[in-house]
């Protein structure tokens, strides 16, 4: 269950950004790296990250619960987070949400039975000019969405 050596190397690189006596500074990126490897952050994973950095587990847990993009419960292989904030709302993010809900048969904070997709509602992602939009797994941004474009994007994903 321990972190892969690849993840450890990535965390080590993050640590070089900070003075050696401030290893806690790397906790946000370390948690991100762990989540990318494991899909979500279990209590054990969080404790392991804390251990690796040499900080109290509670310090890592506090960070994991404070920031929205950490997942503290298992999610599908593809987590789709749709922005519904004002600029996206004005350009009908609701249509995209309805389309996804129908197509996947799930609502916000739900996962499809086959474990492929989780749907989430997001706050402003700082890309409002490209509204409506969503990102997949915190990393790939898709902008100027239409229901047809959503279909194409979903078809393009490995199942």
């Amino acid at each position: 269950m321990s972190l892969s050596t690849e993840s450890q190397a990535k965390i080590d690189r993050e640590l070089t950004k900070y003075p050696p006596e401030h290893r806690q500074a790397a906790v946000m990126s370390a948690l991100r790296i762990a989540q990318t490897e494991k899909g979500w952050l279990s209590k054990e994973t969080i404790a392991e990250v804390a251990d690796y950095l040499g900080i109290p587990a509670i310090a890592a847990l506090e960070v994991a619960t404070f920031y929205n993009m950490y997942e503290l419960e298992p999610v599908g292989k593809y987590k789709i987070t749709v922005c519904t904030n004002i600029s996206c709302m004005l350009r009908d993010s609701a249509e995209i949400v309805t389309h996804l809900e129908k197509k996947l048969g799930i609502g916000f904070n739900e996962t499809t039975a086959d474990g492929q997709f989780t749907l989430k509602e997001g706050e402003c992602m700082g890309c409002c000019g490209g509204a409506p939009l969503f990102h997949i797994n915190n990393t790939q941004m898709h902008e100027y969405l239409t229901p047809e474009k959503v279909d194409q994007i979903l078809e393009g994903l490995d199942k």
């Binding site: 401030h22 990126s29 404070f66 993009m69 600029s87 350009r91």
Partner: protein, 441 residues
């Protein structure tokens, strides 16, 4: 006359490989850094050019950058830090993203000049969580700049050293507030600190720290090249320079437009293709939701600069212009904004934590058809009680939309409360009904 853009911070946009070092060098990039550092130009001279430029912080508060720089302690026995705030998460704001993905080197050069001026040895650029691909572009630009000798130790053989790193946020609007951002860099929850002490005396790891917005730093190389006076002259009194306006919502061509400060609102709207679908303009939030909404009549004749927008009854904020056409229901729009502030309150101060939740619940109740007329006074009271009683400005930011939406669009709220339905949607339904009747006649 139709306005054109002035590309200062978005200078590489439209070039091939805009983010590459080669492109930036071709446009004269890093020459200012090299010149200042090798000629050992005095910090006081640089700061006086920045003061002359009239550059005011582009993160939203509009604090004069030159003055802020003069607060950094000159002599300090230890590391001083430089922080760039690329955490933009205020709805409608998306300009800094274009800087890091299209023109990252100008930001790096601007930060290196600031570091030289302020004696900062290490810098961090804190980047908003959701824009991972752009974060990677910036990381790649940092690698290029290091390899080319524009970052690192003993730059240009002068003994001046500056290391710059990218830090990735993970979804918390509050981290845009500079002290929350500093906490976050340190690997903690993003909860704002009490000020004073200000970052200039107690910032990252407790050390003197200068925090500026991405666009502020990115303006610096241009100011060094052309002089503070020239930058000031791009704009108008009290608002020097060019400014990137992020235009979103109901326009034909949403996007970033970099123009001279003081541009008439109507010209800027025209640049973005005007209101979409041939519809009428209803309202504009000129600087992001923490600035007051203005009805069309109040903004149509305004100029886009600090004084112009304050005369019109709002403020420039981060230049995040959210345009709403005649089909927008202001009650539902306010509900979404109130949810945002409620969701993003960090929970430290009771008036903000409780107040934002209360505001959201009351507006939701109105939208759900359960509103009472007294609710409008209640909303105003709760908002006024948040303002000025909190650690950071998020509390005020949450109150502003509530107060300004109700002030300017009260009849819509009253209609919603009386009928349990949206006045705008009822109007649209009646219109389409009438059209159908005409078609059948």
């Amino acid at each position: 006359m139709s306005a054109t853009q002035t590309l200062v911070c978005l200078r590489t946009v439209g070039q091939d490989n805009p983010a590459s070092l080669a492109t930036y060098l071709k446009l004269g990039g890093y020459a200012q850094l090299q010149k200042l550092v090798t000629e050992k130009v005095k910090a006081t001279e640089i700061i006086s050019q920045v003061k002359l430029s009239g550059l005011r912080g582009r993160g939203g508060a509009g604090f004069p950058t030159g003055l802020k720089w003069s607060f950094m302690p000159r002599y300090f026995d230890g590391t001083k830090y430089l922080v760039c705030n690329t955490d933009e998460g205020e709805p409608g704001t998306f300009k800094d993203r274009d800087i890091i993905r299209y023109n990252p080197h100008q930001l790096i050069e601007g930060m290196a000049i600031a570091a030289y001026t302020l004696g900062a040895r290490v810098g961090y650029n804190y980047i908003h969580g959701e824009i991972w691909q752009d974060y990677e572009i910036f990381e790649a630009a940092l690698e290029e700049a290091r390899a080319a000798g524009f970052l690192g130790e003993n730059l240009f053989g002068t003994g001046f050293s500056f290391d710059l790193y990218a830090v990735h946020g993970y979804g918390a609007y509050i981290c845009g507030e500079e002290t929350a951002l500093i906490e976050s860099i340190e690997g903690k929850k993003g909860q704002p600190r009490f000020k004073p002490p200000f970052p200039a005396s107690y910032g990252v790891f407790g050390k003197p720290t200068n925090v500026n917005n991405t666009e502020s730093y990115t303006s610096i190389p241009w100011i060094m090249e052309h002089g503070g006076q020239a930058f000031q002259e791009l704009g108008v009194a009290n608002s020097g320079g060019s400014k990137i306006f992020s235009i979103s919502g109901h326009v034909d061509k949403p996007g970033n437009y970099e123009v001279n400060m003081g541009i008439p609102f109507a010209e800027l709207l025209a640049l973005a293709g005007g209101v979409w679908k041939g519809r009428q303009l209803k309202a504009v939030i000129p600087g992001g939701p923490s600035t007051a909404v203005l009805p069309a009549a109040a903004i149509i004749g305004a100029t886009m600069d600090y004084d112009g927008l304050s005369k019109a009854g709002s403020s420039l904020g981060a230049g995040s212009m959210i345009v709403m056409d005649e089909t927008t229901c202001m009650v539902k729009t306010l509900k979404r904004l109130s949810y945002f502030f409620f969701e993003e309150s960090c929970g430290q101060c009771t008036p903000c934590r409780e107040g934002t939740g209360w505001l959201y619940r009351v507006i939701k109740r109105i939208v759900d058809g359960q509103g009472r007329l007294e609710d409008l006074d209640l909303l105003t009271d709760v908002s006024s009680n948040i303002s000025g009683r909190t650690i950071c400005a998020l509390g005020d930011a949450a109150a502003t939309p509530v107060l300004s939406f109700i002030k300017h669009f009260r009849p819509e709220f009253e209609y919603y409360i009386r009928h349990g339905r949206s006045m705008v949607e009822d109007g649209l339904a009646a219109q389409s009904q009438a059209q159908q009747e005409v078609a059948y006649a």
